[in-house]
């Protein structure tokens, strides 16, 4: 077993009159299998871009980032769908954005789908211990 420490910080000096400065962390026990940081050139067919295998009762912690470039390295502004296998959309990431969430309690995986062309995504998943 190992420990994974995710930390999220949200900061703004001008969203409100009172400064927003918020930080939360967690200490997660994780086990194999996991994928560290990997890159994928994501196409418009989600089923071809499965980044996390189907769960079998376990919980995965999933990280995804839209790098803002396509397979050729050119800047893109198209959105990246985060989906459960079967084309169920969880949400859409714009260029440069990221997400962190638990996935589990069912028998579905996670796939990515570009809204058009290709998008290079960074991703990682870890299995809850």
């Amino acid at each position: 077993m190992a420990t994974l420490t995710p930390t999220l910080t949200l900061v703004s000096t001008d969203a409100t009159n009172d400064e927003l400065n918020f930080s939360v962390t967690d200490s997660l026990t994780v086990v194999a299998p996991y994928t560290g940081v990997a890159k994928a050139s994501v196409s418009t067919t989600g089923a071809n871009n499965i980044i996390q295998p189907a769960t079998d009762g376990q919980t995965y912690y999933v990280y995804v980032k839209h790098t803002g470039v396509d397979a050729s390295g050119s800047t893109v502004t198209t959105t990246l769908n985060i989906e459960l296998t079967g084309d169920v959309i969880i949400g859409k990431l714009a260029a440069g954005e990221f997400m962190w969430m638990p996935v589990g309690g069912h028998s579905l995986g996670v796939q990515l789908q570009a809204s058009s062309g290709t998008i290079v995504a960074e991703y990682a998943y870890f299995t809850k211990g």
Binding site: L10, A15, A94, A124
Partner: protein
């Protein structure tokens, strides 16, 4: 224009060499060029006896499919056996165990993106907190 910066770091000792991942982004409207301006925060408690509930912020709105929002949600339970099931409408996404949190893009533009929570297992009580960053909504005429 508001600028809110979200930064995520992941560190782990699972390998002989430490893992360190860091990502940072400004929370932007769908147009990307402007920041999200509307921030809604809150807290609540859900029990297993409550059954499946739509979260305070989870009702579909008139934001529209071409709008953006980001959602932070944490299960503040201290009982490691108590978790919150997260659903988008009828689709189960995952479980937040005690102290676990998530940060996701949130569509909130139709019924299919309704944010639904449920405390488990039997007898569970889960305090939670949330922060929703979204685009301004259209004001409505008074009744």
């Amino acid at each position: 224009m508001a600028t809110t910066t979200a930064t995520l770091t992941l560190s782990s000792d699972m390998l002989s060499s430490p893992i360190n991942i860091s990502a940072s982004t400004n929370l932007a409207k769908a147009t990307i060029t402007e920041g999200l301006e509307l921030i809604e925060m809150g807290r609540g408690t859900i029990t297993e006896a409550d059954g499946s509930k739509t979260a305070e912020f989870g009702l579909p709105t008139a934001l529209g499919a071409d709008k953006a929002a980001k959602l932070f949600f944490v299960n503040n339970s201290t009982n490691p056996e108590h978790y919150i099931d997260i659903d988008l409408h009828d689709t189960n996404i995952g479980r937040l165990y005690a102290g676990d949190w998530m940060f996701i893009p949130f569509g909130m533009n139709d019924t299919a993106s309704e944010f639904v929570i449920e405390a488990e297992p039997s007898g569970a009580t889960c305090p939670y907190e949330f922060a929703l960053f979204q685009e301004p909504q259209t004001l409505v005429t008074h009744s």
